[in-house]
Structures are given as structure tokens and as C-alpha cells.
Symmetry: C2
Subunit: 192 residues, 2 copies
DNA sequence: AGAGGCGCAGAACGACCGTTCTGCATTGCG
DNA sequence: CGCAATGCAGAACGGTCGTTCTGCGCCTCT
């Protein structure tokens, strides 16, 4: 097992365990056991638990955004979607995510809520994720370019965030539908 | 010190410590020290940590909703506000809350994200809080009565939730302004 | 063969956690 | 006064945590 494989296994284990059960309640022993990688190597690859958590979140951010972008892009091709169609398909993707059996809300908000603003690399990873998602929404809203892209993107970001938390707490995917309807109304309020 | 006073001190301490630092990282010893109440009495009043957390959240829910309702009501009197004005003043209240020095996001979502859906009395308290806030928004939206009150209330609830989390993560009160503008647009999209 | 380097499993360390226990002090009553 | 009841501070218990250490096995090289 080379370092890349060990790292991948550790991040898989971290993702599975921390997302399902929170961060502080999962010890490094359990990450080791789940990953099948020794503690010594774990600490060689990630100098502390905070580093491991931040790394898992950064990898998750990439995968999450890539999954969303792929979906929006494919739907745009299938349906010849315009700006509105592309922005609304974000919420269709949300609906699918909320229905996944291991859905447990936003890993980034959960980690931030658990560990707080002073949690160094973890808080940084969370903030960067949110900034990148916002940027993606601005890009979608700005195609074709318009003066209100940032404003609408910010509003849709709040709907996305609120729907994710609400879906986790209520255990229902309905907030995706609610958010989509709100997004449609907001887009309709600002025609081209 | 009677039981009521001890209970109040314990809930004050719990609120201060758990909201600021998360739940698992604050031991019962520290709650005891902060409250100035013995561990024996603490356990007599709250049989377990979960009970204490749930009790603090339930008290916080009452205070939070009361503060919001008072603000909305006072603003309605001051400005002769109609349905739209009352619903929008929810977001004005949010803006003030986000500016408080100890603001750290939604205590309910944070606790849920940290402890998970299986956390018994805590998860129950979180779900009930969300349901009560939703009901309050439905009441605001239904005055005067309309067929779309639940729909608009659900949409505003997502904005409220998304703004709270985003404000905590970004450390900025701006999401309240963004949410208010979105709420205004949603209300304008459905005139009387 | 022997020596050195590397990596492992899991023990060890010190800290913290949730909860219960214990020696002691205080209070109230007869 | 003596006795019983009550409550306290904080020790104790058993468990878990993050991190480092140690004895051992394996591999490579001379």
C-alpha cells in the first residue's frame, strides 16, 4: 500500500465516520480500524486530527461541487436549458442528494457548528467551500452576463443552505422542492 | 438556593458554554463550576447530560421565539405594518441577532449536526423548535388569511435558516439583508 | 550470517468525559 | 446534647480521546 492509497483509505474512512457521527465522538483508533492503515502512517500523512478533518472536508468539497456541476451541465445538455433551467437544476440535484440514505445535512455546517470558528484548518476549509459554492452560483447566474448575478446567487445560496439543514432535521426531502419553488419565483421576479 | 434557582443557574451555564463551544467538549464539571451548583444537585435536576442539553434548548426556543415575536409585534405597532411589513421584520430581527457579539449560528442546527438524528431528547427538542418557528411564520403569513400562507412561510423559513448558518460561517451579518431582499421579492411575487 | 532501517499493532501516556460514590459538614428535631 | 437526615466538594470509577512510544517482525544490504 503506497501513501496515495493509504491517504485515500483514510479520507474514505474519515468521510464515512465523521459525516455519520460527528467529529469529536470518533476516535483516531476507529479511523485506523476502518481504513486498515496504521496509526503511525495516519499521523505521518496527517499530523493531527484537525488536519485529517480539514483534508476530508476539502476532498468532499471538490466531489460535492463536481457532482453538482456535472448534473447541472448534463441537464443543460439534455434539456437545452437556459440560465433559469440551469439555476433551477441545482435544486433538482439537491432533491436527489436529500434522498440518499446516508444524507445527514451539510458536512461543512455540521463541522463548523461542532468545532466553532476558532477551529483553524477546519474552519478555513468550511469557509472556502462556501465561497466556492457561491462563486459557482454566480457563474451560473451570470451566463449570460447580467448586473444582478451576485445578488441572485447570494439569495439562492441561502435557499440551498436552508434547505439542506431543514431536510436533515426534518428527515424529509421536501425542502428541496420548497427551495426550488422559491428560486423560480426569485428568478421570475428579475427577468432578462 | 432552591431548586428553581439552581435549575436556572444550570440552564444559564449550559446555554453559555454549549452555545459557545459545542456540547461534547464541555464537561459536566465545567457546567457545575460555572453554575455554582453541586454535581449531585445537577444530576438530581437533570438525570443525564442529554436531558440538560434538551432542557437548555427548549428554554432557548421559548426565549428565541418570544424575542422574535415581541420585536415583530412592536415594529407592527410602531409602523402600522401590514402582513408584508411583519414578515419582513423577521429579517430585521435576524440582522440584529447576527450582530450580537456572542452570535454563533443556530444552536439547534449546531446541536443536531454535532449529535445527530439519534440523539433522543436533544433531536426531539431541535425538531420541535423548527416546527414551532414554522408555525409562527405561517401565522404571520396567514394574517389576513390566504391560501398560500404555508407555502410562503416554508420558503421564508429556508431563507431564515440559510441566513443564520451563512452568517455564522462568514462572520458577517449580510446574509440577513440578502434574505430580507429575497423575502421581499417572494412576497411581491404573490400579491393579495 | 549479522546489522541496520522501516513499519506495524497496539500499549502507553496524559487528559478529559459522564456518572456515581464517600467522607465530612450542616441543619433540624427530640 | 446526640442522632438522623440532607447536601456538598471533589475524589473515584470506567470509559474514551489524541498522540507518542515500544517491542517485534520483516526486508535489504554487505
Amino acid at each position: 500500500m503506497d501513501h496515495e492509497e493509504a491517504s485515500r483509505r483514510l479520507l474514505d474512512a474519515a468521510e464515512q465516520l465523521y459525516y455519520a457521527r460527528g467529529i469529536q465522538s470518533v476516535g483516531m483508533d476507529e479511523v485506523r480500524d476502518t481504513a486498515g492503515v496504521s496509526l503511525a502512517r495516519l499521523y505521518r500523512l496527517f499530523p493531527s486530527k484537525q488536519h485529517l478533518v480539514a483534508a476530508y472536508l476539502r476532498r468532499r468539497d471538490e466531489r460535492w461541487r463536481a457532482s453538482l456541476a456535472r448534473y447541472v451541465s448534463e441537464r443543460a445538455v439534455e434539456h437545452g436549458a437556459d440560465r433559469r433551467g440551469r439555476l433551477l437544476s441545482v435544486f433538482d440535484w439537491l432533491a436527489e442528494w436529500f434522498r440518499e440514505p446516508d444524507f445527514r445535512g451539510c458536512a461543512f455546517a455540521n463541522a463548523f457548528g461542532e468545532l466553532g470558528a476558532g477551529s483553524g484548518p477546519v474552519a478555513d476549509a468550511v469557509r472556502e467551500h462556501k465561497a466556492l459554492v457561491r462563486r459557482y452560483l454566480v457563474e451560473l447566474a451570470d451566463d449570460p452576463p447580467r448586473a444582478d448575478s451576485t445578488e441572485i446567487a447570494d439569495q439562492l445560496l441561502l435557499l440551498l443552505e436552508g434547505a439542506t439543514t431543514t431536510a436533515a432535521i426534518t428527515g424529509s426531502p421536501d425542502p428541496a422542492r420548497t427551495a426550488r419553488a422559491a428560486a423560480a419565483a426569485l428568478l421570475a421576479a428579475k427577468p432578462a
